[in-house]
């Protein structure tokens, strides 16, 4: 894997132009594709999922001059084809050892916990209530309680799952930012 290959501004511009004519939409698409490629490599058990995703993007970018105007179809499928090739090459190389579990600093955990409390307080009343009720239930009661919660909110159970997930993600981001401020 060529980790030293860095995207030049020119190559990156060409990639964005290929993804979408609108530069802003192209940027968002690039980010999305990268995130999904990381998930795919992680789904295949690759520890270096991010590196492999970047390698895939680099290779696609490198081939743009060849495929540019002739390619028709979804860009994503092309990325998938290249990702498969990158994966096969990766499999042929020796697998690195899994990262050892990081030792948790109890002071840091405490600060994180304080941040979590602060961030939960910062949520809107509606989101906080949904989060607390959604994650409160455990065991067999969980399914029934979540169903009741969805009914109470007038949304489908699947919509509730996604809404709870989005709140959880925003909470995690808030905690990360808070921790960064505290450790600065």
């Amino acid at each position: 894997m060529n980790k030293n290959w860095v995207l030049s501004q020119e190559s990156f511009d060409a990639l964005l132009a290929w993804l979408d004519q609108d530069r802003e939409r192209a940027g968002a698409k690039y980010e999305e594709i990268r995130r999904r490629l990381i998930k795919i490599f992680a789904g295949r058990g690759c520890i270096e999922a991010e590196d492999l995703a970047d390698e895939t993007i680099n290779r696609v970018t490198n081939k743009l001059s060849d495929i540019g105007n002739q390619f028709t179809g979804d860009c994503e499928r092309y990325f998938y084809g290249v990702a498969n090739k990158v994966y096969m090459e990766h499999q042929r190389r020796k697998q690195p050892q899994p990262p050892t579990a990081t030792v948790v600093d109890s002071n840091r955990v405490e600060q994180e916990y304080r941040c979590l409390e602060e961030c939960i307080e910062q949520l809107s009343d509606q989101d906080r209530e949904l989060l607390l009720q959604y994650y409160h239930a455990e065991g067999r009661a969980k399914i029934e309680q979540r169903k009741q919660l969805a009914e109470k909110l007038g949304i489908a159970p699947n919509a509730l799952r996604i809404r709870a997930f989005r709140i959880r993600i925003s909470l995690q981001e808030c905690v990360e930012n808070c921790l960064e401020r505290k450790l600065r």
Binding site: E32, I33, R35, R36, L37, I38, K39, I40, A42, G43, R44, G45, C46, I47, A49, D74, E76, R77, F79, Y80, P98, P99, A101, T102, V103, V104, S106, V109, E110, E112, Y113, L116, E117, I120, L132, Y135, H136, E138, G139, N158, R161, I162, F165, R168, L171, Q172, V175
Partner: protein
């Protein structure tokens, strides 16, 4: 999900057990369909929840630990979910109807709790005069103890102790396998003090590592042994905030004059969810 890929298949994909043909179909859709990608994220989240709730089968649990947790991002997500679970557990404990009477007591090992005086219903309940005399004697006894304590102050470390509950743990090497002590989750404002019995006193200072599910949650240095009766113990205070229900191990090491560690013994205990 409006597709022929269900949640179970996504879970198997994340655990690395999905058949190759289904995997290819799923991956293409992850890349091309935003809603499938988002569903994958949600299922990933739910898988972590199931793992923490002990809802995975043994083989799934093994796959989760050895396959799913390979990336730093997933390890971070697991760590965050543990933090959120701790928050939810502490809320549940405060909100639990049974906690008003029981949780305000210092938490103890899971031996049945003794009833407190306001709810006393023992043999003296029907003999108020005798009960009053007994209470008076007890009160005088307490006053005498307080006076004696004032005349003979204890060591500073004991004086500054905040509200703690003490539990004595025997070394793992001297304990039978099925006797892990159970400890109730401490109520707010209480810390847990462990007294780690020493198999033999051999060091002037000790060092400890507290682990929960193989993750270190607290390390303590400069622990000094104390004599307690005919036993030598190492006191170790654990703040409530680092605890949540689960299995814990303390790895105790002696500190050599060179500053290096020498393993002494392991101590295990379990924090139960609610005060019993």
């Amino acid at each position: 999900m409006n597709s022929n890929i269900d949640k179970r298949e996504m879970q198997n994909y994340l655990l690395g057990t999905l058949a190759a043909d289904r995997r290819i179909e799923l991956e293409e859709r992850i890349l091309c369909e935003p809603q499938v990608y988002e569903e994958l994220l949600v299922v990933e989240e739910e898988l972590i929840d199931q793992y923490l709730a002990g809802e995975l089968s043994r083989s799934e649990q093994k796959q989760f630990e050895n396959y799913f947790l390979i990336t730093a991002e997933r390890q971070e997500n697991l760590h965050f979910r543990k933090l959120l679970k701790r928050y939810m557990d502490s809320r549940a404990q405060l909100a639990s109807p049974g906690t008003s009477a029981a949780a305000v007591q210092p938490f103890e090992t899971s031996a049945p709790a003794k009833k407190s005086l306001p709810f006393y219903s023992g043999p003296l309940a029907n003999r108020p005069a005798f009960a009053f005399s007994a209470s008076l004697v007890a009160l005088l006894g307490i006053i005498l103890l307080v006076w004696l304590a004032a005349r003979h102050p204890k060591q500073p470390t004991q004086q500054i102790a905040s509200r703690v509950t003490v539990i004595t743990l025997a070394p793992g090497s001297l304990r039978s396998a099925d006797t892990t002590p159970h400890v109730n989750f401490p109520p707010k404002g209480y810390d847990l003090k462990l007294e780690l019995e020493l198999p033999r006193p051999a060091f002037r200072k000790y060092r400890s590592q507290l682990l929960r599910e193989s993750e270190t949650v607290q390390t303590s240095d400069d622990l000094k042994p104390e004599a307690k009766g005919d036993q030598n113990i190492v006191p170790l205070t654990i703040t409530r905030e680092v605890l949540s229900p689960g299995d814990y191990h303390v790895r105790l090491s002696g500190v050599l004059d060179s500053g290096q560690d020498e393993f002494v013994d392991n101590y295990s205990f379990r924090i139960d969810r609610y005060v019993r």
